[in-house]
Symmetry: C2
């Protein structure tokens, strides 16, 4: 059993040792640039956590470390085109720094590299690992499609929103843990619990992201609060507020989001006032709590060494403390 | 052993039986639309030819039929964005009919589906098949990057051009045949020859495409001649002409491509006059002949039933007769 710090060191070394520089440089420079920007490498860490939990051979997990991180970054490259996002991890996005064609093509190449790495997994693990990985990839694309659809839809329900973040974010975290479990030849039922643990942590993490955007500590969270309100994003908080709002409160929210001329600070303050009146902060925290508790229960029920299970719990806590 | 007509019927049935309609429809409608447009399904046919040649179980090839065609169409969706191409197979391209985001995301999903299908290949075949498929995918992306780069580069050599079309077109044909051979558990050396046969047919096919654009029978080829000249595309013919041209002929070509005001017909006629003076048609035919002969030699050297090898030769002839 390894500590989280040890597992993080393995992830770090794996990416330092791996080269992403090939010809043509026009295609691979954006890939080195993207993977060189760091990021938290949560998914590879989860692969190792899943593998270590069931006493797997960590060296066998190497292809899955690379695959999950390459895949995640590929989705960011393409998402940034769709969102026309200028910045990512404090640096220019690939489509901005280069162009859309290159961001499409470098992304495609990262996806191909991800699956290429998986082909070197132990043969008896590969079919299930590849099926899991590619089905997850489809879910992530579907989630992104819903996210894009929701931007222009008026009647998004909480259920639909939760399903969207499940697909867009949570399933890949579940997949990462389960890949590790598969590589460790964990029993099917235990691998499934690992998956569900990761999925619930992913849900909690994404909901917390929504919460921190408005109620977060700017210094600790690393970005200004209220960005989602300014962007008019349909977050859990906003959808919940609409669900619970009185006609007057609905009108107030509508007014905030339909008048582009309202100064940002005023808009944030007015929306926040509605949130406060409706206890949106507590409701969101309770929704996060549901997923967090479910994750912990799942963790308890996994048949594995206590040390490994405690490590998973520590990981979950640190994810949600945002210390990563 | 099956006839080409029988193999084509299997391909046709496979795609008729497979559904591509899932939720969200915004993501999957463009996939059904793309795969429903037909196309020649050359790659799945080549998978079956490769499998049948080595007496493989054709039903085991099903995942590879779907994977090669899904992958090929995924690249078309993304290429059409990069080329801003309005039409494909006589219909609006996906990014035109829907939008760029959807064309990116539907393409990504098709790539994921391609690899998902591969995960159901027989377990002992999967590692090598997946490695081949994903390495080929990377080559195709690299080829597309070179193609995009060449548009704005002045000094593209014939060698570079041939390498580009090899990556962009030929390797996937080689891959398709070899996938079939792998599924039939062909000996490694024979599978390699099948790959090289496919690659050479691909080179011949692409060079013929360049040739037909200017010297083709408009009725038979299905499009107006001279399109590449009007688009200023660096084809084998144009690069060869620049290589062989006298200073006067170079100046004539430069003049044709630098004056946008020259009427299309006149431009085509003037470039064609230079091609004729330099025997470009014969030189291109001879280059096609080199790849065609190499393919036939490779075919002869494959250790397999004569009937199967004759089928491959028939296939090659029909590819290059453009009767497909």
């Amino acid at each position: 059993m390894h500590s989280i710090t040890e597992l993080q060191a393995i992830v770090k070394r794996t990416f330092e040792e791996e080269t992403f520089s090939f010809e043509p440089t026009g295609l691979y420079d954006p890939i080195s640039y993207t993977l060189g920007a760091g990021g938290k490498r949560i998914r590879p860490l989860m692969v190792l956590l899943g593998c270590d939990l069931f006493n797997g051979e960590l060296s066998q997990a190497r292809p899955a470390l690379l695959a999950t991180e390459l895949f995640h970054n590929f989705t960011l490259l393409h998402d940034d085109i769709m969102d026309q996002a200028p910045l990512r991890r404090g640096r220019e996005t690939v489509f901005k720094k280069w162009n859309t064609s290159i961001a499409i093509l470098s992304g495609d190449t990262m996806f191909a590299m991800a699956c290429e790495h998986l082909s070197t997994l132990p043969q008896e693990v590969l079919p299930e690992a590849l099926a899991l990985f590619t089905q997850t990839a489809r879910r992530v694309c579907e989630g992104q499609q819903y996210d894009v659809d929701f931007e222009t839809r008026q009647n998004v329900s909480i259920r639909e929103y939760l399903e969207m973040i499940r697909m867009k974010t949570a399933v890949l975290l579940g997949c990462s843990l389960k890949l590790g479990a598969l590589i460790a030849r964990a029993p099917a039922a235990e691998a499934e619990k690992a998956w569900a643990f990761g999925e619930n942590i992913g849900m909690a993490f994404q909901l917390q992201d929504d919460l921190l955007d408005i109620f977060g500590n700017e210094k600790k969270f690393g970005k200004e609060t209220g960005g989602d309100i300014i962007a008019g994003k349909k977050t859990f908080l906003l959808l919940k507020a609409y669900e619970l709002a009185s006609p007057e409160e609905k009108a107030e929210l509508d007014s905030c989001f339909s008048h582009a001329s309202i100064p940002a600070n005023e808009k944030i303050a007015r929306v926040r006032r509605v949130y406060d009146a409706l206890n949106i902060r507590q409701i969101t925290q309770s929704e996060i709590g549901i997923h967090y508790s479910r994750a912990l229960e799942l963790c308890t029920s996994i048949r594995a060494d206590e040390t490994g299970k405690n490590l998973l719990k520590t990981f979950a806590d640190e994810m949600l403390k945002r210390d990563f």
